[in-house]
Symmetry: C2
Subunit: 364 residues, 2 copies
């Protein structure tokens, strides 16, 4: 059975890194990737909106639902001022396809960190992906005291439970995978741990519900309770601690907006946003998506780092049942990074997107 992947480059460097990821997928030798791959090009994005008045066309959604086993999303540009009728297509996609968790692994691997220092970072951020301030229920009001606007932040037991489940099960899964590594290869050597991020000292009701629900997932599962440690961290302290002792985190689970901020912050620790992949995960679909944005300043120059997109493609394979194909890609990327010769400008190199892509393909 072939694996059909929808490709949604969207805006800016999305148009460069998604083709790069496709190239790597196509270069997989058949012993690593048993299924035939096929690709469907799909539209979405702010540029598409400017031409067609819609950022996430119905045809794209229909093709994803009807014809694809998974997809890759590039990046989307932000309008520089308010644009009537525009709504972020990636936020829409997550909602429409019920991709309820955004899984963001941040590993130091062989990359240089921001400070030049090497720290053993091996963090997995699970970002709730469907609610919080991202429900986009906002309204503007003209009151007696002047103009103001209200946004609603929604936290449900249902969504918090799913995110919590994902966090604890991934913590166990990571632990099982680590058992297969030599001790020297392990960045995280302790028991699996889940850090619950919230701000319940201010948002006692919404973040209170979030934290209690995630805790309940833990308390009601004897396997989690016996094998996983948990801790809590206020979001402000989380950002502080992440930069002071990033090696102290294993799995981190956070409501949508905190997860967005934390994962960009974590990316700074491993040298570049251009290295950090993600997977938007639902029960029956997955969309790989580099954590970086559309980077209009470097778009069209063939210098964007394709590694985040390539790793996102590997995450897609992992989630659709092709773990050894995924592993082959992760290893190829790690080798290219470890050799340190071929790297794009964000990592201090002078290589092009194409050169990095070629180097990864060669290592497969």
């Amino acid at each position: 059975k072939p694996l059909t992947i929808g490709l949604i480059p969207a805006d800016g460097i999305g148009r460069e890194v998604i083709p790069a990821a496709r190239q790597v997928l196509e270069a997989l030798p058949s012993n690593a990737m048993p299924a035939k791959l096929s690709f469907i090009d799909l539209d979405a994005g702010f540029e598409y909106f400017q031409k067609h008045g819609v950022a996430l066309p119905q045809e794209t959604l229909a093709a994803l639902k009807g014809d694809c086993d998974g997809a890759l999303f590039g990046a989307v540009s932000s309008p520089s001022h308010k644009v009537a009728g525009y709504s972020s297509p990636i936020v829409g996609l997550r909602k429409q396809m019920d991709l309820y968790a955004n899984v963001r692994p941040v590993i130091s691997g062989s990359a240089a960190t921001a400070s030049g220092e090497k720290r053993a970072i091996d963090m997995l951020i699970i970002r709730e992906n469907t609610e919080c301030l991202y429900i986009k229920e906002e309204k503007q009001v003209e009151g007696p005291e002047g103009k103001y606007a209200i946004a609603k932040r929604r936290i449900s037991e249902f969504a918090s439970r799913r995110a919590g489940e994902m966090a604890f099960s991934m913590a166990l899964q990571r632990d099982a995978m680590r058992q297969q590594l030599a001790a020297s290869e392990r960045a995280w050597t302790g028991r699996p741990k889940v850090t619950i991020v919230h701000k319940s000292n201010v948002l006692s009701v919404t973040d209170g519900l979030w934290r209690e629900t995630v805790r309940k997932v833990y308390e009601s599962n004897s396997q989690y309770k016996s094998s996983v440690d948990i801790e809590e961290q206020l979001v402000d302290s989380m950002v502080y601690r992440m930069f002071r002792e990033p090696e102290a985190f294993d799995v981190v689970v956070a409501p949508n907006m905190y997860g967005d901020i934390i994962s960009d912050g974590a990316a700074a620790l491993v040298g570049s946003l251009g290295l950090v992949p993600s997977a938007n995960v639902g029960d029956s679909f997955v969309v790989g998506e580099p954590v970086h944005g559309s980077a209009p300043d470097i778009a069209g120059k063939n210098i964007a780092n394709p590694i985040a997109a390539i790793r996102s493609a590997a995450m897609l394979l992992e989630r659709t049942g092709y773990g050894s194909a995924a592993l082959a890609i992760y290893r190829a990327v790690d080798k290219v990074l470890a050799e340190g010769q071929i790297k794009t400008p964000d990592l201090g190199g002078k290589s092009t997107t194409s050169e990095v892509t070629k180097a990864v393909c060669k290592q497969l």
Copy 2:
């Protein structure tokens, strides 16, 4: 005319660092501090709530309003689970006293950064201090699809304008102060700049209003327009960029919650939260407050870093018209840090709170 300062140590290490700050204020020589100082001890905090059922007593508010020219607040502990009737006293204080901006200077000074590297960081974060998710309008609902909770996030033109005004006027003020420094002493060498933080790609209405209002403050003032540069930064990218090139920021203005997160993150860059002061500023009152929390793990051990509180006391003096007294404190702290002998454990030293306090007093 004497200067009367309310002291609210509140919880945990607040009880150690506020007395330390008082000691430094009392040690100011009369040529630096012309006015007589008097102090009023005031109650608030989670521990106080546990005993008396109220976290911010009316008497404290009445004394602040009636008898004090300014105040110092220590830190407040967070309950480890939801506690009926409890509401954060510092959030209440900001609201009740209309302290609409939280001013948080983050300077590398002579402190070692997290990475051991020295970077010239000289950032001033202006955090809107009265609204956003901090209005704490939350409710829990039992819907057909289960339990969920909603919090409201409020952004008003009025509050955004005040925060914007504060940001641009501080940018000019900082520039004027820098002109008095030797070129070699300046961390920031460019034109003054204000970075507007938001997430209007998702929150187009609330953060749209925030960003437009702050921009309007700029556009409608010819002095700002001719002397200050502005830029915008999405909050996720802001955290990323802050860690990649912290030297790229001068004044940063942000809605309440983003400002909370960013300032903790910035503190990591200068080596310790124990160094970063803030001032909660209104039109007629100011409350100095270290950015750190109550740190229950180290409370009562006389090892908390008092510098954030001491610097917060200096900010209080600066804002109440005693600029040279403030400068004397800043310089004394800088000297102690530069000598590098006497430092608390958060900076890698072994000194006590009392020793650091004494060392600062000696330099006055």
